[in-house]
């Protein structure tokens, strides 16, 4: 499990750096897909809640260093997302297209809800998605479109990202 968490965290941090340096140049309406979230969703769904929440915690903390987010912001939100998505482990067959898109769209909505709760808990000192704004919905669509490709890429690394008995 620790090997899976370690590798997953590395993948997520690389995704975060790519989001920051590369994807920001091709942003659509100043919105970029959250590749780090998609990777977390894959790892959580395939490995379960324990791996998902620890991966979310570790990668979230490291992502906070790359962002203007307060320390703990991404750690908290991604721990919860990892735990929740991990509860769905094995529930549905992970097909190529439809389910990854649906899963990541759902995870993005969960992220928005968690961020809104944090926004209220901390007296609006942290930002929140405006549900009437385009940013959230564009991010949901971009995450859903990117999910099948990212999942297909991550399946190439099954040996390090999935439990040994399933390999």
């Amino acid at each position: 499990m620790s090997k899976t968490i370690g590798w997953a965290t590395v993948f997520i941090i690389i995704a975060g750096i790519i989001q920051s340096s590369l994807l920001s140049k091709i942003a659509i309406f100043n919105v970029i897909p959250d590749l780090a979230l998609i990777i977390l969703v894959y790892v959580s769904y395939v490995n379960g809640s324990m791996t998902g929440q620890i991966t979310g915690f570790a990668s979230g903390f490291l992502l906070d260093f790359l962002s203007l987010a307060p320390l703990g912001f991404n750690a908290l939100s991604r721990t919860i997302i990892g735990a929740v998505v991990g509860l769905l482990k094995g529930t549905f067959f992970l097909d190529i297209l439809f389910f990854p898109a649906l899963l990541c769209a759902g995870a993005t909505i969960i992220k928005a809800i968690i961020v809104t709760v944090i926004h209220f808990l901390f007296n609006a000192n942290t930002p929140a998605y405006n549900f009437s704004n385009n940013i959230l919905w564009i991010e949901i669509i971009l995450n859903a479109i990117s999910a099948p490709f990212v999942f297909a890429f991550l399946k190439l690394f099954k040996k390090v990202l999935t439990p040994r008995k399933e390999n």
Partner: protein, 290 residues
């Protein structure tokens, strides 16, 4: 032999739950500390650790881009060269007129018994990345501690002949720095109208497409301010040097029951075209400090 039903045992589920609670508590505590400005700035340490990676990826992707798009790159370089030459020429003109105005200002200030004018130097930098989170609006420049960048240095840019305010350095690594732009929701700039001199606070709305908001303007300014009026930094607070253009008035919001006036302004800088910035340092903090 009966097949064992798959699924987590109760004990395993409990372990998962305990770990989940522990992790969320730790993350929650971290967030609590970070929003209260924790004593040790762990972020600076962590940010420095990753400061090389971003620059490396940026370098690699730039090389690949330049190789593949060599013709486009040549054309772009030519345009960029012309643009930078013009910027340099403008900067030299600005420096010359600043020296003349500075001398005149010194004479006037001697007569009025004002304190010495601020003098600052520029550190040029390039934007190499943006915030990976769509919720936050910071961007990263390719200069850090080694080049003399410090926290709370103001950042400006020259664009279309205008010297405009870009933002504030909020985090510094060894070779990179993070800048909070003026349109960020947590950005607050002490400002004044360039002509009428009424003061207020300019803040962002968190979105580059939304206008900046200037609040706490005296109500009597309503008859003196107009659409298109320039808003500049007032220099109060000692963070931003005074006289740097922030934007122009695009909307005046006046409510009888409000105790002050609010205006919306279009930023002087087009952030979608922003590539090069200048980090400025004040050599002294003078009388503009509160």
């Amino acid at each position: 032999m009966a097949l064992r039903m798959s699924g987590p045992s109760p004990r395993r589920s409990n372990n998962t739950l305990y770990v989940f609670l522990a992790l969320t508590t730790i993350a929650f505590s971290s967030l609590l500390f970070s929003t209260r400005s924790f004593v040790i700035d762990v972020r600076d340490v962590g940010f420095s650790l990753f400061s090389g990676l971003r620059g490396t990826i940026h370098g690699v992707t730039s090389s690949v881009q330049k190789t593949i798009l060599s013709i486009e790159e040549l054309r772009r370089l030519k345009q960029e060269y012309d643009q930078l030459s013009k910027q340099l020429e403008r900067y030299e003109q600005l420096a010359r007129s600043a020296a003349d105005i500075g001398q005149e200002n010194i004479n006037l200030k001697k007569q009025l018994d004002f304190s010495q004018n601020l003098v600052y130097k520029h550190i040029p930098a390039q934007i190499i990345g943006k915030d990976p989170d769509n919720l936050f609006s910071s961007f990263v420049i390719d200069k850090g501690i080694k080049e003399g960048i410090k926290k709370n240095m103001a950042v400006i840019a020259f664009q279309d002949g205008i010297q405009g305010l870009v933002g504030l350095v909020v985090q510094v690594g060894r070779h990179e720095s993070m800048v909070m732009p003026v349109y960020d929701a947590n950005s607050f700039v002490s400002a004044r109208f360039a002509q009428s001199l009424y003061e207020g606070i300019v803040s962002g709305q968190g979105d580059v497409n939304s206008p900046l908001i200037m609040k706490y303007i005296k109500k009597r300014a309503k008859d003196e301010i107009q659409y298109g009026d320039r808003i500049v930094t007032s220099g109060l607070g000692g963070v931003y040097p005074k006289g740097i253009e922030i934007g122009r008035v695009s909307k005046i919001i006046f409510q009888e029951y409000e105790t002050s006036l609010t205006v919306e302004l279009e930023s002087a800088i087009d952030f979608s075209r922003l590539e090069y910035v200048f980090v400025i340092e004040k050599s002294n903090t003078g009388a503009d400090d509160e």
